[in-house]
């Protein structure tokens, strides 16, 4: 992993780029680890990905730029079929051209095509076939859209046409054709007659490891003040499931219960109570009743700007489970860290077969020579103030003049005033920074200014006089 990171940093175009996004991660869920670098230039974006997936070295590279009205991607471009329930995604390693306007999006690609491997820290491909395609999204009217996808990927052909209708009360999607040489028909309808009632029904086709799985579902939800009720039914893989439940929120307490039924398997009840203890902390209790057994589990979470974590139980419908109820409750752990721009995420995920896997990944930015250095961000509204105003040598207030207070910067508003808030009444270094002024020109300070300033509840107004050189 360290070697991959060093290789990406070595190969990635470092200096001309203004911002380089470095991502790295490892996952038991995706059985992979890797690093990637996305370099943002003024006129193009380059990406390099290197990793190990299932024990094999994988890579990805792309360069994205504008050519007249077209966006050109040379290299890897993930292509997704955006039809209802059509779970098909692959990668084109070649040339892709995209043209977008208010009413139409056209995507044309030609090159090697293959399996896309895309996770939050890595986007790579294994290409084996020659592929080509044209995809169209066309707005017909205010409410109606038309879509058409024609793709050849080696020996597999996909040709799907669909329409969708969206209004405030009704959403409908329908598509038909051939998906990877298999007959494809999908539809989804969602009716929302008033803001407290919602009803939906869907038929979708998923391809999992070449296996075609049809999923039919229907559901409804009603919200009455602080209470909400929902019911739904699923049918997939010769297995059906029904769920119904309700939720009630009273002040900081949220109480909910769900009844779940699936064929010959015992009925289950999943109940939860969640208390919002403070703005940042919540606690949860989960009570499960199934086949005469009652189990109680506990969870909770904490959220702040720098760190967040959540431990809880979620209920999943898993149609590929064998000899077990398709409704399963699984422990889900999510941890997020955000320290000085570096963000790290780790957590567990549940597979459709019921297994629990983990992932950890993070990303950070590296900046080029023209980009500013990092600046601390205030996490609270401080009550202590440092205030002042900037004027020229004729006493006219100056807008856009900037001063540095400790590590923070404050620029003047249209009245020539600046304000800096602090959480403690501490002293900080003070200096005028003409090189950061928002208005053009060469400026200098007239007269003396204090070297340090102290934040106070009702501070004395600092006065700074400047003039053009």
């Amino acid at each position: 992993m360290k070697r991959l990171l060093a290789l990406v940093l070595f190969i990635a175009p470092p200096l001309p780029a203004q911002a380089i996004n470095i991502r790295a991660g490892a996952s038991d869920l995706y059985n992979s680890d890797g690093v990637s670098a996305i370099a943002y230039f003024t006129d193009h974006i380059s990406e390099l990905d290197l990793g190990i997936e299932n024990g094999k070295f994988v890579w990805g590279v792309s360069d994205q730029f504008k050519f007249h009205d077209w966006e050109i991607i040379a290299g890897d471009k993930p292509i997704y079929i955006a039809q209802p329930g059509a779970g098909l995604g692959f990668v084109s390693r070649g040339l892709t051209a995209v043209k977008k306007d208010d009413k139409r999006t056209i995507t044309i690609f030609l090159g090697m095509s293959g399996t896309l491997f895309s996770v939050p820290y890595l986007t790579t491909a294994r290409t084996a076939n020659l592929g080509a395609g044209i995809m169209l999204r066309q707005a017909l009217t205010k409410h109606w859209d038309f879509t058409n996808d024609d793709i050849v990927d080696g020996g597999q052909k996909t040709a799907i046409a669909g329409v969708d209708y969206t209004s405030q009360k009704l959403m409908f999607e329908g598509a038909a054709g051939v998906l990877a040489n298999k007959r494809y028909l999908a539809g989804q309808i969602d009716y929302h007659p008033v803001h407290y009632v919602d009803a939906n029904a869907a038929h979708a086709t998923y391809l999992v490891d070449g296996r075609q799985i049809n999923v039919d579902s229907a559901g409804a939800a009603v919200t009455v003040g602080p209470a909400s009720f929902h019911a739904s039914t699923f049918y997939a893989n010769n297995l059906s499931g029904q769920a119904a439940g309700g939720d009630l929120r009273i002040g900081p307490v949220d109480v909910g219960t769900d009844y779940l039924h699936s064929g010959k398997f015992p009925d289950s009840y999943f109940s939860h109570v969640t208390e919002q203890v403070t703005q940042r902390i919540h606690l949860s209790q989960f009570i499960t009743t199934s086949a005469g057994r009652i189990s109680v589990n506990y969870g909770g979470g904490y959220t702040s700007n720098a760190i967040s974590f959540d431990v809880g139980y979620s209920t999943y419908f898993m149609p590929l489970l064998v000899a077990r109820s398709p409704f399963q409750q699984a422990l889900v752990v999510q941890i997020g860290l955000n320290i000085k721009g570096l963000s790290v995420h780790t957590g567990t995920n549940v597979l459709p077969t019921g297994g629990v896997k983990w992932s950890v990944y993070g990303n950070d930015f590296v900046y080029g020579p023209l980009a500013s250095s990092r600046m601390p961000q205030d996490r609270s509204v401080g009550k202590y103030l440092i205030r002042g105003f900037v004027q020229d040598d004729h006493g006219v207030p100056i807008e856009g003049a900037c001063v540095e207070i400790g590590k923070a910067i404050a620029c003047t508003n249209e009245q020539g005033e600046f304000t800096q808030r602090e959480t403690k009444p501490r002293s900080a270094t003070f200096r005028v920074v003409p090189e950061d002024f928002l208005m053009p020109g060469r400026w200098e300070v007239v007269g003396g200014i204090p070297a340090t300033v102290t934040a106070a509840l009702d501070p004395q107004l600092l006065c700074v006089t400047i003039r053009r050189k």
Binding site: A17, Q18, G341, L370, S372, Q377, Q420
Partner: protein, 156 residues
């Protein structure tokens, strides 16, 4: 001729300065017993560092027409920061804490984005405005503010 030159310069520099954003554009806040708290999200989607300066104003309406006035003593507004340097492809949140002597009330935050300091020429700024309505539990908060210009006059 000077204006033509300025226009050409603006057009040539414009592609560098279109990638700023703020959210939310309009926000309706429920006033509580203590200060009402919210946040504004500033986005620098460009590949250049930007400086953003936030300026609050009172939002008033006269016969349905919106206008902004300097913030008066009736609105107690605190911002965690008023100036931010946002590195390329980064976002920043500014925390807002507000209370009003008379409810409902409304204010705007103008976020002025500008690139690096220049010694010569002109500086181009992009100003993006967002409106905040601080409401009671009464329905039709915004309509009430729009229809009651006298509410503003009382406070000034």
């Amino acid at each position: 001729m000077r204006y033509v030159a300025a226009l050409i310069l603006f057009v040539s520099l414009a592609p560098r300065s279109y990638s700023q954003g703020i959210s939310p554009l309009v926000s309706e806040l429920k006033a509580g017993k203590k200060d009402t708290k919210t946040a504004i999200h500033l986005i620098n989607a460009s590949v250049f560092p930007l400086t953003a300066v936030l300026e609050p104003h009172r939002l008033t309406f006269d016969r349905g027409k919106a206008s902004i006035l300097p913030l008066d003593s009736g609105i107690h507004l605190k911002l965690s920061e008023t100036t931010l340097k946002i590195p390329p492809k980064q976002t920043r949140d500014v925390l807002i804490s507000v209370s009003c002597d008379i409810l409902p009330c409304a204010f705007t935050l103008t976020s002025i984005f500008q690139g690096a300091h220049t010694l010569d020429g002109i500086g181009i700024r992009v100003s993006l405005g967002s409106a905040y309505y601080v409401c009671t539990r009464q329905k039709g908060c915004r309509d009430l503010i729009m229809q009651q210009p006298t509410l503003v006059a009382q406070n000034q």
